[in-house]
């Protein structure tokens, strides 16, 4: 199972920061999250959402759904950023 971490407002929406979620692709992970929390599931699919696997950006929102996941991959979802 992938370890999934949420950043920023997604954490508040979910009520958790990190948990193990089953799924062999990013799309499967998104669907598992959406089944439990539709609002969060929709946010994770938004074209502005950063999708990060093992500390590398792999795409945005549901555009990254096809990305396959290995056992123990670190997956992170982040809303639009604001540094500085």
């Amino acid at each position: 199972m992938a370890q999934v971490t949420l950043f920023g407002s997604y954490q508040d929406l979910a009520g958790w920061r990190t948990r193990a979620v089953p799924g062999g692709s990013l799309g499967a992970i998104r669907q598992a999250v959406a089944a439990e929390n539709a609002a969060l599931g929709e946010q994770l699919g938004h074209p502005c959402t950063l999708v990060i696997v093992n500390e590398r950006l792999v795409g945005r929102g549901d555009g990254a759904d096809a990305h396959p996941l290995a056992e123990n991959d670190d997956v992170a979802f982040g809303p639009p950023v604001s540094g500085g």
Partner: protein, 151 residues
Amino acid sequence: MIRLADAAIDPGALLAEFCAGRTDAGAVVSFTGLTRGRTDGAAVTRLTLDAYPGFTEAVMAEIEAEARARFAVEDVLAVHRWGSLDIGEPIIFVAAAAEHRRAAFEAVDYLMDQFKTRAPFWKREDGPDGARWIEARPDDHQAIERWATAQ
């Protein structure tokens, strides 16, 4: 050089360190971002920055490399704070050293525009009216467009 700091950063000490021993660079420009007690009219009592250590530095290092390639700078430093900040505390310190001042100004300006819209930090402001998550402002998105056409 990029650093992510989980404790208070000291802009004075960073500038002193960055200037020390330079005999070829005539110009050092710095930017310091401070936590404001008010944004868009709403009082703020605390700022919390979330980051993703590893990923966050990697994106910042990419932006640093762009700036070094684009401007005639000798050196660049960016230190970004994360965690829980009091009002008035520094959030970011960016500096560039160059032979002539134009390149140093432009490099720091570029770095700040890019960090504001691309550096992976998530900011929450707490105030008497509750908490709110902050995204890059519309003028930050406009600012970044300047670099698409310039030089």
